[in-house]
């Protein structure tokens, strides 16, 4: 795959640690906030674009390879947002150069990808789409639940975020607010270009450690209780069909609009 480092750079100790951790649950979906590229460059008295080159090229490829080795199935990366247009035009131009190069290699390899918008924007989109669906009588008010709103936000069904990893800062910055609301947060003080395999193993370890934490168990029991209450609510087959039909119609509608533009196969 074009985004992933082809060489396995792990040491034998790291491979042994990986095989040990694989005995426990591995997070299905991990999100990364790639923060600290510019500070990394500043520390080394290098230009900002050097930090982006290391962070968004070398390190990104390496981390994706590690995720494949660990068996993590879905990865989401926060690389750029609308707010980043406030940066210098030179920096923005360089970032887009990296992105278009990577996207082109990805497309050439025939891989699929998804680009998300900001979390609040996604939540708002989901809410608006469901409200409009109610107005068109495609669904009833009793059909509206967290499952429907969540899937109305997401144009491609995917697993909720199990672990969010952020380097150097301790906030979410309008990223995966809904998807990681009950997931594990792993804030690391290192800068993204310095993120190591041991840091990733630590994130997996913290995810697995929840099973041994008494406080987590108390909350987990409540979550399981809530989930069972929601599942035990008798939903009829017609309700299920209505919801699925609505969601499929929604996705088709948006995909049709995007395909009609014929610009890129990038979807939001």
């Amino acid at each position: 795959m074009s985004w992933i480092c082809e060489e396995d750079t792990r040491t034998w100790v790291q491979r042994l640690a990986t095989n040990t951790l694989k005995q426990g649950p591995i997070p299905y979906h991990v999100a990364f906030i790639l923060d600290g590229n510019r500070r990394y460059a500043k520390e080394r008295n290098m230009p900002t674009i050097y930090g982006h080159k290391i962070g968004l090229d070398t390190k990104l490829n390496e981390v994706l390879r590690w995720c494949v080795d660990l068996g993590i199935r879905e990865v989401t990366m926060y690389m750029f947002s609308k707010d980043n247009f406030k940066r210098s035009s030179e920096e923005v131009a360089y970032l887009f150069q990296i992105f278009s190069d990577k996207l082109q290699r990805f497309l050439d390899a025939g891989q699929s990808f998804l680009i998300w918008s900001k979390a609040r924007h996604l939540i708002h989109d989901g809410v608006k789409r469901v409200a409009e669906g109610l107005s068109r009588k495609e669904i009833k008010q009793s059909d509206v639940d967290e499952y429907l709103v969540e899937n109305a936000m997401q144009l491609y069904p995917h697993h909720n975020v199990d672990v969010l990893v952020r380097t150097s800062e301790t906030r979410l910055s309008d990223f995966v607010l809904w998807e990681c609301n009950e997931g594990q947060l792993c804030f690391n003080e290192t800068l993204w270009p310095q993120y190591s395999y041991w840091n990733l193993l630590e994130a997996v370890m913290l995810y697995q450690k929840r099973d041994f934490s008494s406080s987590w168990q108390v909350c987990q029991n409540s979550m399981i209780g809530e989930k069972r209450k929601r599942e035990n609510v008798n939903t009829s087959i017609q309700e299920e069909k209505r919801k699925e039909k609505f969601l499929q119609g929604l996705r088709k509608q948006v995909w049709d609009v995007l395909y009609k533009t014929e610009q890129m196969t990038v979807i939001q």
Partner: protein, 337 residues
């Protein structure tokens, strides 16, 4: 056959190593936490024999240090993780031997012992400690505090909590009065709770007094409120329009944007436009306990919130609070720049 046996042995060895790593990691966390707390306690007891330490001096130092910080949160959120009555060791043992009944026996005995004692705890949440933490935040001049626990224990017991908070604020008021020259302790006002008589700490506050706004949340105020907003938006924006075709809605009234959703959610949260001291989004979220998750805390409102972890309710101290404020004062929000 030999290969299968080797694979079986390998998997058992790796599984045992995995279990040992986790047991060791969890135990070292618990031991470190235990030692840190008890060493601190022992040193305080020792220093109090000489006039080098007193809880009053610690509080006065805290208020003074916070007043010097360049940046203090105006809206502080505190997520309380309930303590389990089960010991970590019994949980680890249950992983090794799933049929172990040892843990349930321990729980039953603990309940019997607690019957004769005054118990401030409600389902693992010590309300007096929560009140103490709120009082520290008030002493740090934070006007808006959001309290959160997954199960809604704080929401159910807000009156009891309110009386503890008032006691603690009055008890600590001397430090605020001395350093900041405040005249009266603030009025405590609860929002987002089921009020029978309009609960504002039972005291008729005068207009000149500061108000400490306390919002109390549970899991149901998070994603379920967003679902509720969908239905209300549909009724207000679409159903109302179709029911009154003679009075069509303006384009502004029909608009559903992020501000619309924001206003609905803030309304459910009990946010009033009279609260001007802080924003609806918390500046800082403190999670009391070693659970690395927001556990369902208001997903819409934490997009730019700093998130810090403090020791659990039974171990948290004012110096941990101060350390978090130092860290908050140093952090920089770049907003994409």
């Amino acid at each position: 056959m030999l290969r299968k046996a080797r694979e079986w042995l390998q998997s058992k060895v790796f599984y045992t190593a995995w279990l040992v790593i986790h047991i060791a990691y969890q135990l070292q966390l618990e031991i470190r936490d235990f030692l840190r707390f008890n060493l601190r306690y022992a040193s305080k007891r020792l220093l109090s024999c000489f006039p080098l330490y007193s809880p009053q001096k610690e509080l006065a130092d805290f208020v003074e240090e916070v007043s010097k910080l360049p940046k203090v949160p105006k809206h502080l959120a505190i997520s309380v993780i309930p303590e389990s009555q089960e010991s970590v060791l019994s949980m680890l043992l249950s992983k090794l031997w799933p049929n172990q009944l040892h843990s349930s026996n321990i729980n039953n005995n603990k309940k019997d012992d607690d019957l004769n004692e005054i118990n401030f705890e409600c389902d693992g949440v010590n309300l007096q400690t929560v009140a103490k933490i709120v009082a520290w935040a008030s002493a740090a001049n934070i006007p808006v505090i959001s309290l959160y626990d997954y199960n809604g224990i704080l929401k159910t017991r807000y009156k009891e909590l309110g009386s503890y908070i008032q006691e603690e604020i009055i008890q600590d008021f001397w430090a605020v009065e001395k350093i900041k020259g405040a005249i009266e302790p603030p009025v405590v006002k609860f929002h987002n709770v089921h009020k029978t008589n309009g609960y504002t700490n039972g005291v008729n506050g005068t207009k000149s007094r500061d108000t400490l706004h306390i919002f109390v949340f549970s899991r149901n105020d998070g994603k379920p409120n967003i679902v509720r907003a969908v239905k209300d938006i549909y009724v207000d924006k679409f159903e109302r329009n179709s029911n009154n075709p003679a009075v069509p809605m303006t384009s502004e009234e029909k608009l559903i944007d992020e501000n619309t959703l924001d206003s609905y959610l803030n309304r459910y949260n009990g946010w009033s436009s009279h609260i001007v001291e802080a924003k609806t989004e918390p500046d800082l979220l403190l999670i009391l306990g070693n659970v690395k998750s927001t556990l369902g805390f208001l997903p819409w409102h934490i997009r730019l919130t700093e998130i810090h972890w403090l020791p659990s309710l039974k171990r948290v101290e004012i110096c941990d609070f101060l350390t978090s404020f130092y860290k908050y004062a140093k952090c920089q929000q770049r907003f994409g720049k």
